[in-house]
Point group: C2
Chain length 340, copies 2
Amino acid sequence: MKATIYDVAKEAGVSIATVSLVINGKGKISEERREEIRQIIMRMGYKPSMIASALTGKKTYALGLLVPDISNPFFAEIARAVEDEGQRHGYSVFICSTDNKDEKVEHYAALLQQKNVDGIIIGTGLKELSVLKPLLQGGVPVALLAREFPSVVVPSVVVDDYAGGAAAAEHLISLGHRHLAVLAEQDSISSSRERVRGFKHTAEAAGITLDPAFVLSSGIKEGKNKAQELLQRDDRPTAIFCCNDMLAIGALRAAKELGLRIPQDCSIVGFDDTVLASVTDPPLTTIAQPIEQMGQTAVQLLIRQIGQPGEQPERIVLTPSLSIRQSSMALRRYPEQSIS
Amino acid sequence: MKATIYDVAKEAGVSIATVSLVINGKGKISEERREEIRQIIMRMGYKPSMIASALTGKKTYALGLLVPDISNPFFAEIARAVEDEGQRHGYSVFICSTDNKDEKVEHYAALLQQKNVDGIIIGTGLKELSVLKPLLQGGVPVALLAREFPSVVVPSVVVDDYAGGAAAAEHLISLGHRHLAVLAEQDSISSSRERVRGFKHTAEAAGITLDPAFVLSSGIKEGKNKAQELLQRDDRPTAIFCCNDMLAIGALRAAKELGLRIPQDCSIVGFDDTVLASVTDPPLTTIAQPIEQMGQTAVQLLIRQIGQPGEQPERIVLTPSLSIRQSSMALRRYPEQSIS
DNA sequence: ATAATCATTGAAAGCGCTCCCCTTTGCGCG
DNA sequence: CGCGCAAAGGGGAGCGCTTTCAATGATTAT
């Protein structure tokens, strides 16, 4: 059986209180005793049970991370950053893939609460804001990552999605494109909405109006089909802005299936700049999110919230940056006939 | 404050034992009382603390997943499968990225043990096998995923790496390649060794000897450089087998930087078939691992081990399959001069 | 030398829950 | 009418640890 604090105490001929104090480096214990007990702990291979210490009203040193899908590279990279930063502060993290389904969010939220996690990072969208209520009522510290729910006051890290969308538009417009399309995520996802808004406004400011028929929403699965819809039109756009890299990849595939060349026949700009963007064919021009920093910051905000529950929640805005690769190019002013 | 079982008991006018029994659906309680207490639990929003119930000698319903890097798509996909299958059985999972460093493995192993996880899935390599000892001695159920340590008897899921390597060789040889090279992972990783072995043997059986100078080991970071080494030789290989897709991508990049065309100037075969393989330029011919099944099986084995600690550990071998895309092609028998 | 002061350490009360085992109550039966 | 028994529910002892508070002996001031 595993050694307990009692075993150590008996072995050392002291009370468990003393052992506890030594472990936590507290109290007034003579240095000799301290060292002696440390030796014994080492020798017995004793490791205090975090379960028991958690029960004593202390913390569990566990965090929950809610994301849509850990197998999506963007969230996998986020997870890594969260894990590392958590680790740095002594926290372990539970991963929870919600598939953006409220039921799953609800399920995981309740579960994490039962597991008494010290805090939860929410990096997943939710249709019904009410799923968060039990958490907030339960007093579980929460930090929002790349998501926002205006009516909820909790710390959050976001990237300036509007600016990102705008940057995409600027890039495309500067390349001469005027016939633009957008492939967005579901409308319920605020970051996507913002990206589209930034894109749209910037286009409008340049005198370009986006035909609603050229602004499609879709999940990752149907992304390719939606892109194909766009690409098959007679008045096919000369550039498509995709609200994430997965969608952009769908577009790339759609183009390939239709025999269209990217970027010659259509420029494509993605969003995220995960590992995927650099390995596609062609490599994706995309709006880069500072993923690592996002994860780190979220953990920091959360931990601060855990420490000072009352404190005014902070809202940190990170700035995305344009990463130009080969899926976008200047519009040819005088399109030649296809040579085939 | 959060409601406890006492609050519920008081509210219902029964003892906490009764409430506990109702929660766990045990004992002899009249159906009316049962229902009544359920109502109260619901009404009060009471959720039993898993910490407390874990302390009472029960399970924590938490698993640990040790992988080299959760941001690596292969492991991210594994993680998703593990998470889902775990969830299906009521378990949550802690992610632990070890970067293949023994110290981190050790650190996480100890941590998970302190957190009293019910079991650990080890999907990371280790140089020193001894880091596992504390776990096994501590009686923590363990399952190995895509790794093997012959001297340790624990359940494990592996794919037949040897067969995978062989399949890669067969493919390449059938395309007429005879001048082969291999980009392997560190030698400490047994799966990589097996892949190389399968590849080598198959090549030899076809009368092809691999010059050791054409078998390079490298981490993902230096993969590109190693590939460049290979590709810059005067007697450049006509095909490279890379022990994972990341390495293959490194090779793809190296080729591009050197102005070499893939697959015309050199065929490349990867291993894993993560999402990456399908989005590269060109899409990767690769040996596909049944990732989802691997994750699921690992969880199942682990859970079985948790249930019957004494039971003879099972070893399940899954079979990889060749997934042909565009990074490999038949060797041109009479190489033309480069046109440029 | 004696009381007062400190540094050390131990005893014990929980934390919220599970589970063994005992008490109470209600019945059927001789 | 008394007995045994089953059913229903309560009591209470932990699980391993933290922490408060008091007790102990040592130390120092008077």
